[in-house]
Symmetry: C2
């Protein structure tokens, strides 16, 4: 079983929380992969560089200047800081974007009503290459970036990328996908941190959506989770970053997604 | 024979020259490695971010803020742009810093009279890991960055890093080291671009230095070149970025360094 762990932006933005999470991640036994989000630092650096964040219908547009910022911040600063810290925890990490070793090929999102700019929709995961790293006891650490064959780096959603990596690898070995974030799981009451829904299946997911209990940002995350299970991933869990060890060792943490 | 090619900052700063160089590099047959310099873009971005470039006795100091800038610019922006462009040239590149796969371990330069800050002196090259990539037909592309085991990324001179990678690999296979830059080779008259010294050995190198013909920035580059030959590298050439193909195919380009 390979553990594919996604860590969200809020933890990335907090050095103490990140250090604690990486120490826990380093201790996971067996093959593992980390996929990290971006955090707010790209927005801050873009602002400091005088690059405007463009939104259309509430969604961020990655123009060329912003693409260069996320390439340097996610692919350079955040990714290499994580790799160096994992090495200090005796975890032999390698930082990757989709372009490295052709590991995740994408295409620039086709323009329909909105031109999202340099945003990548994933076409193919190079599972054999990723597995060759795991076989050599190397731990891939992915920044949320992919590439196309025209020489362009592309900004990519980290949740989607984690799902694609897990799904791609599941043809070669059993995969366990864990989304870690700043909440204890999927909550039935956003005001109550302890209202964790212990298990979500397609039936109660629909019901929670219809009641408006699950909404906004959780919906694409959960759609990714269900889609991963339908495409070969063995297990999917959504839990707090502090509960990674617990989720992996006891299976009793966060929200389990099942079919 | 593995070709280890270093490309300097002046070419990195010019998109057309860089594209032409990468197209030539992609066409080299057999195992190969690219090591790139930083270019002036890190200085520009640091300035735009309000980070002051600190110099002591004419040498740049890498404080923490500047280290983060070079980590993101060299390790993210420059490195990933090169990797994506090599992929578009059907060259399966992987972008690396020393931290990735523990490929180049360094230590923070000890403070004697000057504290250079987060600057790495290389301790060890993981030749087996680098060779495993070459064996898989993957082309390592190194940014001029290393790491220490305390979790820190370190700024490293690209010429020195190229020499260390070539020397480290030479215990496993024959190595050819080519330094590409914006001049046709080592010149006997800096005003005359065609005054290329075709061969430099320790004897005429001393003599050129004593005459003041070779000076300043060329001296550490040439010291690296001679040290590489003394430590197992088979061939070292210094040539124009446009002449890479010629240097590799005919051996009649630039300045050959011999013992």
């Amino acid at each position: 079983m390979v553990n594919i762990v996604k860590i969200g932006g809020n933890v990335i933005d907090n050095p103490e929380k990140l250090a604690s999470f990486l120490s826990d991640f380093a201790k996971i036994k067996g093959p593992k992969i980390l996929i990290h989000g971006g955090g707010k630092i790209a927005t801050k650096i873009a602002k400091d560089l005088g690059i405007e964040t463009k939104m259309v219908e509430g969604r961020r547009i990655t123009d060329e200047a912003m693409r260069d910022v996320v390439t340097m911040v996610y692919g350079g600063l955040v990714n290499k800081q994580i790799v160096a810290k994992l090495q200090a925890n005796h975890c032999n990490a390698i930082g990757l974007t989709g372009a490295d070793g052709k590991s995740i090929l994408a295409q620039k999102r086709p323009v329909k009503t909105i031109d999202y700019g340099f945003v990548g929709d994933i076409l193919e995961v190079n599972a054999l290459f990723i597995k060759s790293l795991l076989d050599a006891d190397i731990v891939p650490v992915f920044a949320p970036l992919t590439f196309d064959m025209n020489g362009d780096m592309l900004n990519t959603n980290a949740d989607t990328q984690a799902s694609a990596v897990a799904t791609g690898l599941s043809s070669l070995l059993p995969t366990n996908l864990v989304y870690c974030f700043e909440k204890k799981g999927v909550l039935s009451d956003p005001e109550n941190e302890d209202s964790v829904i212990s298990e979500l299946n397609p039936a109660n997911y629909e019901s929670f959506k219809n009641q408006g209990v699950i909404y906004e940002g959780m919906i694409p995350k959960l759609d990714n989770a269900f889609s991963s299970l339908r495409n070969g991933v063995s297990q999917v869990t959504i839990c707090h970053a502090d509960e990674l060890k617990n989720a992996l060792e006891t299976g009793n943490a966060g929200t389990k997604i099942t079919l």
